[in-house]
């Protein structure tokens, strides 16, 4: 069926709400990659079998990931009229027990993480109900307490393979608003007002980038979603696509309208098969509902999206390399200027945004830039999703308002290192980020503060390191990554990183000399100032920050040789 009006949307929403909190018991298994890795598919099958043998009308469905990856497989259950319950570490053998309890209107207590009375999908609120008052509330749970979900507003709650559930929680209403009540300029103005900055790394103001692309003289324009997420340990974008693909798609359609593009491309890593398949399903559904394709909502705006699978190189996440790769060439960065906003894909103005950037758009359009700009801090509005990994107790995906202190994330949300170890440093910003020592964890997470201490925001990787981590080894690990992934086009990055890695390995083998530190710094500076693309320009960061904050570790290793 083709959606033509707000009433159509509302009718679908009404229908689908029945699935989310209707008259049936709903069991939703967290089936994102993280859940599947811990056996969620087997859990799903166990429930399926159990329900079949019970011959009861229970709705079993899949959802994405709510972010608490340490507690996977996570299952959420809704007994009509009662609070939604989040169950953790559910095993297939637990299924029958849980089912039995559910039928009796109960749930085994030891499985419950927390209960949700009401979930704010931002465009819509869903009231589940009371009950289970002995269980702690979602908003009182340490892991969730300090989070604020904008990007992940639907993740883990709705079925990512069902467009109707997305519509039930307010989906595509922003698109309707943009297409029927706003001009493209107004949309851009709203995004500018929100203060949203790119979530892919550099933090460039999104509204401004849109405006430049929209104003570039051309008969055609393109928009691209950067879903090439290549930082080791980072999986924010994967989760966003697996858990709520329509949010990304809606954001892109609105972007296409604002910028004047007819085609959008999602460039996604080939290593993300589940994200790709969910995106494909979502795109198909949107087309079927008339939300993608010709004359969306009956307006004269037409737009379509296609998926391009990444070639597997980290550097393809860089805008110009990505464009080259989409054009069928080897993914190697091209000199800028010209910037993609002027001359991008096929020589046409092109706007590239990260998955997370796009996912913010529907909310901004619906709630207004003003509303968004009040979250976070003045120049760093909104939230950011981080993958909190490494030596931290509560591993997971967390979304916090920008400006939240690192301490809060590492200790309050993550609960510090396991086994009573002390936190030594936090590495932020992917392989080209910096290592921030424990003593500086008071700083707020925002683009400028991170830069000041020698790191970058990056796309959201956050690795916690305990006192037993060797910082020289850490630096060598990251340099070996960037050196491997350097495309080899420009000499300083290609050869400089190799030389740096050799020196680091020499130091690690106990064969370093004091002059090596100077040489490392000199190499770092030259590579930073002379490399062509962001990879080379930031790759020395782990070395520079570890020399700055953990110099004694280097000296210790060098002294051993003397």
């Amino acid at each position: 069926m083709r959606v033509r009006s707000l009433d159509d949307l509302k009718a679908i929403a009404q229908r689908a709400l029945e699935k989310l909190c209707g008259r049936r018991i709903r069991i939703a298994v967290g089936l994102a990659t993280c859940g599947i890795a811990t056996g969620a598919e087997e859990v799903y099958s166990a429930f399926l079998k159990g329900i079949e043998s019970l011959k009861r009308d229970i709705l079993l469905t899949k959802v994405g990931c709510i972010g608490y990856c340490r507690e996977e497989p996570i299952v959420n259950v809704v007994i009509p009229g009662k609070a939604l319950l989040l169950l953790s570490r559910v095993r297939p053998e637990d299924a029958s027990e849980i089912l039995k309890n559910l039928i009796d209107g109960d749930v085994p207590r030891e499985k419950i993480v927390c209960r949700v009375k009401e979930w704010d999908h931002l465009l819509e609120k869903i009231h589940y109900g009371d009950g289970f008052t002995d269980v702690s509330l979602y908003e009182d749970t340490p892991f969730f307490k300090h989070q604020r979900k904008i990007v992940l507003r639907n993740a883990g709650i709705i079925n990512p393979e069902d467009i109707e559930e997305y519509i039930a929680v307010g989906g595509y209403r922003s698109l309707y608003k943009a297409l029927t009540e706003m001009t493209p300029e107004m949309v851009i103005e709203e995004v500018k007002r929100s203060g949203l900055r790119g979530r892919g790394g550099a933090g460039f103001p999104t509204g401004l980038k849109w405006e430049i692309t929209a104003k570039s003289e051309s008969d055609e324009r393109y928009i691209i979603c950067n879903a090439d997420e290549g930082d080791p340990g980072a999986y924010m974008n994967r989760n966003e696509m697996e858990s709520d693909p329509h949010s990304l798609i809606e954001g892109m359609i609105i972007g296409g309208y604002a910028i004047g593009a007819k085609e959008g491309i999602i460039y996604v890593r080939a290593e993300y098969p589940l994200a790709i398949s969910r995106l494909q399903i979502a795109i198909e559904q949107s087309r079927r509902y008339g939300l993608l394709g010709e004359n969306i909502f009956g307006t004269d705006f037409s737009f379509d999206i296609r998926i391009v699978k990444g070639a597997g190189a980290f550097v393809c996440g860089e805008e110009t390399a990505m464009i080259a790769s989409i054009e069928g060439e080897t993914g190697r960065p091209r000199p800028r200027p010209p910037f993609p906003a002027e001359k991008g894909l096929w020589g046409k103005p092109t706007n590239i945004n990260n998955v997370e950037t796009w996912c913010n758009i529907p909310v901004i359009v619906y709630k207004g830039g003003e509303w968004f700009s009040k979250i976070g801090t003045k120049n760093n509005t909104g939230t950011k999703v981080f993958s909190l990994v490494g030596e931290v107790q509560r591993v997971g995906l967390v979304e916090v308002p920008l400006g939240t202190s690192l301490k809060r994330i590492v200790y309050d949300i993550g609960n510090g290192c396991p086994d009573g170890l002390k936190v030594k440093a936090v590495q932020i910003g992917g392989p080209s980020g910096g290592c921030i020592p424990e003593g500086l964890l008071d700083i707020p997470v925002d683009y400028e503060s991170l830069k000041e201490v020698g790191s970058i925001m990056g796309s959201g990787g956050m690795v916690v390191m305990s006192e037993r981590t060797s910082m020289v080894e850490t630096a060598a690990f990251f340099v070996s990554f960037t050196s491997e992934e350097s495309c080899g086009k420009c000499a300083p990055c290609r050869e400089g990183l190799k030389q740096m890695l050799n020196i680091l390995n020499k130091i690690l083998m106990g064969k370093g000399s004091p002059s090596d530190l100077e040489l490392l710094k000199e190499l770092s500076e030259t590579i930073k100032t002379t490399s062509l693309c962001g990879l080379g320009q930031t790759a020395p960061n782990p070395v520079l920050t570890t020399i700055k904050y953990f110099k004694e570790e280097y000296e210790e290793l060098i002294k051993r040789y003397d």
Partner: protein, 612 residues
């Protein structure tokens, strides 16, 4: 073009919009060192040697890729910039094996053939601050014309760009990432087995010792050679060349003007760049005479001349026949014609005269190079254009690559052009004309179709070309028959193709002027014609010599000054590259001696030459 004002090292410089800092600086007389940059190719931005400081930018910017903007303040030689350049140069020099003393291209600053070494001198690299890890990279010697030593490659990508942007053959690309990067042919074949057409463009632009000629090696530095600028007359395209010559030996031939703006991008084909260096035939170095017992003996030049005069006197004009190579300078062709006329000889023809007689009977619109470049459908009929007219092949590839033109090849033999065509139609030699019908409709529907007829064998075959040319004539499709030699067009224009139609040659004298090329005769076919006597003039030992009575040494084209009429219609004067041996004469030199002896009077060729 709007004007842009900027400051370079404090000096006000006026540039035009779209220029890079490098272009603006060079135009204003500043020098910025570069390596990966080449002014005939797109900017790459890989070596980072050309970095400069631009006020307001925290990072250094590469001048070869950064466009100028109004009010820009550029410093090209600050300490920071110099340090960075030196550092980058150090990285490049230590990356692979750049121990210059073992390199073919190495030399002192004024002498070196290596741009990399020159830049190293300029930024004053005295030692390597980093350890050198000489990995063993492969050395690919499988190409028939050049060696690729990956150990000396600096990954500047010039070869990759020239092969795709200018030659449009796209054989080369980078493979692997980071410091493992390697230039690869067809993503990993040996060059000799790849789609490479041995044009040598990559070798010419390589700034390091990675690509070098198999023929120029160890003959001396180019800087020590005499440098002769002229063009290559071999196929009629007439590519401009720079010829490096030492001790009357060619060391290397390069395409000139590999710079922006030239339609051909300054390329050469394999024949043009390596042909003269690959010549294996032996020269006719001495005059030969047949003695009374029928044996060939060496003679003095004068004896051979006397014998020729004697023969020319012994036959009446209607019993004398001239058969001439069309690959001779127009001066020679015109002189031969004048000589024959004065003698009263009417039967004079070039080896490709038949083609001329085939072509003149049709009136079809002629295609030029621009037509090929702008075409949407190219029908290539006949022989191997890569071997015959390689640079015209590049126009076809460019149309296919850049404009999405469709190429259809109708040919009896495989060619390296085949991979660019949507349809390759194998036909038996001689039946190229039989398929015209099948393509007529498609051609008529195209907006700018071009038909190209390639190969002497094809153009000689009246039946095979008739259907194509009749179709071209009727449907006004632009067509380009490619002439078999570099001066066929001049020969035809001069009207040296008036073969008599008698079927017997017995009792006649044949004056065979071969120039550089083997005639279209074989000894057997010539013997069958039954000439009574033969005077042969040519540069190279030829199997036909067996049948001759007098053999006179000729100049090769490399030694012979003169005029050529190119496919483009342009008329160009060739400057000789080599000096000839004493007895080797051009046809006009020889004939003028004979004309004097025969008292033929002055033979005037000037008006003929200007009529070209």
């Amino acid at each position: 073009m709007r004007e842009v004002k900027l400051k370079i090292d404090g000096k006000e410089v006026i540039a035009t919009e779209g220029m890079t800092i490098l272009e603006a600086a060079r135009k204003a007389g500043f020098e910025i060192p570069t390596l990966c940059y080449h002014d005939g190719l797109s900017a790459h931005g890989g070596c980072r040697l050309c970095v400069v400081e631009v006020k307001g930018s925290p990072r250094l910017l590469t001048s070869c890729t950064t466009p100028v903007t109004n009010g820009m303040e550029v410093s090209i030689n600050t300490d920071r910039v110099k340090e960075a350049r030196k550092f980058v140069m150090n990285l490049i020099m230590t990356e692979r094996n750049h121990f210059c003393m073992f390199c073919e291209k190495s030399g002192r600053y004024e002498e070196t053939d290596c741009e990399l070494q020159k830049r190293a001198y300029e930024v004053q690299i005295e030692h390597f601050p980093f350890p050198v890890y000489v990995n063993k990279y492969p050395i690919d010697t499988t190409s028939p014309v050049m060696v690729m030593d990956h150990n000396r490659c600096i990954l500047c990508g010039r070869c990759v760009r020239v092969c795709s942007e200018v030659v449009a053959n796209s054989t080369l690309d980078f493979s692997f990432r980071g410091s493992k990067a390697l230039i690869a042919s067809d993503t990993g074949l040996n060059r000799g087995e790849s789609s490479c057409i041995s044009c040598g463009a990559c070798m010419q632009v390589c700034p390091a010792g990675a690509l070098f000629s198999k023929f120029g090696g160890y003959k001396g530095k180019k800087s020590l050679c005499e440098k002769i600028e002229t063009f290559c007359p071999i196929c009629g395209v007439g590519c401009e060349t720079t010829n490096y010559v030492r001790y009357n030996n060619i060391v290397e031939i390069e395409g000139s003007g590999l710079a922006k703006g030239n339609l051909d991008g300054g390329q050469l084909c394999e024949k043009g760049r390596y042909g003269p260096l690959m010549e294996t035939r032996n020269r006719i170095s001495l005059p030969l005479l047949r003695d009374s017992r029928g044996r060939f003996v060496e003679s003095s030049y004068q004896e051979a001349i006397n014998k020729s005069i004697q023969l020319l006197k012994a036959y009446s004009p209607d019993k004398i026949v001239f058969r001439v190579s069309s690959f001779l300078p127009a001066e020679d062709l015109a002189y031969i014609k004048g000589f024959a006329l004065k003698l009263g000889v009417k039967d004079i023809d070039t080896f490709d005269g038949e083609i001329y007689r085939n072509l003149i009977s049709f009136d079809y619109p002629k295609a030029n190079y621009e037509d090929i470049l702008n075409s949407d459908l190219i029908i290539l009929v006949g022989g191997d254009i890569v071997k015959e007219h390689g640079v015209v092949g590049s126009y076809i590839r460019r149309a296919v690559r850049n404009k999405g033109a469709e190429l259809i090849i109708i040919s009896p033999a495989e060619s390296k052009m085949d991979r660019f065509s949507k349809e390759v139609r194998r036909v038996a030699e001689g039946s190229e004309g039989s398929v015209v019908k099948e393509y007529e409709e498609k051609i008529r529907k195209a907006s700018n179709p071009v038909i190209i007829l390639e190969g002497a064998y094809l153009l000689k075959n009246r039946e095979a070309i008739e259907s194509w040319l009749k179709f071209a004539e009727a449907s006004k499709v632009k067509t380009l028959p490619l002439p078999p030699t570099g001066n066929s067009l001049a020969a035809w224009k001069l009207g040296i193709s008036s073969k008599s139609n008698e079927n017997t040659e017995s009792g006649k004298l044949l004056f065979l002027i071969l120039g550089d090329i083997d005639s279209s005769y074989s000894p057997a076919s010539l013997a069958e014609l039954g000439f009574e006597a033969i005077i042969l003039h040519g540069a190279y030992i030829d199997p036909m010599m067996k049948l001759a009575d007098v053999v006179l040494p000729g100049k090769s084209w490399l030694e012979n000054e003169g005029t050529y009429k190119l496919i483009s219609g342009e008329v160009k004067k060739f400057t000789p590259i080599l000096r000839a041996e004493k007895d080797a004469k051009s046809p006009r030199e020889l004939l003028s001696e004979l004309a004097d002896a025969l008292r033929l009077g002055k033979i005037d060729i000037d008006s003929l030459i200007t009529s070209l």
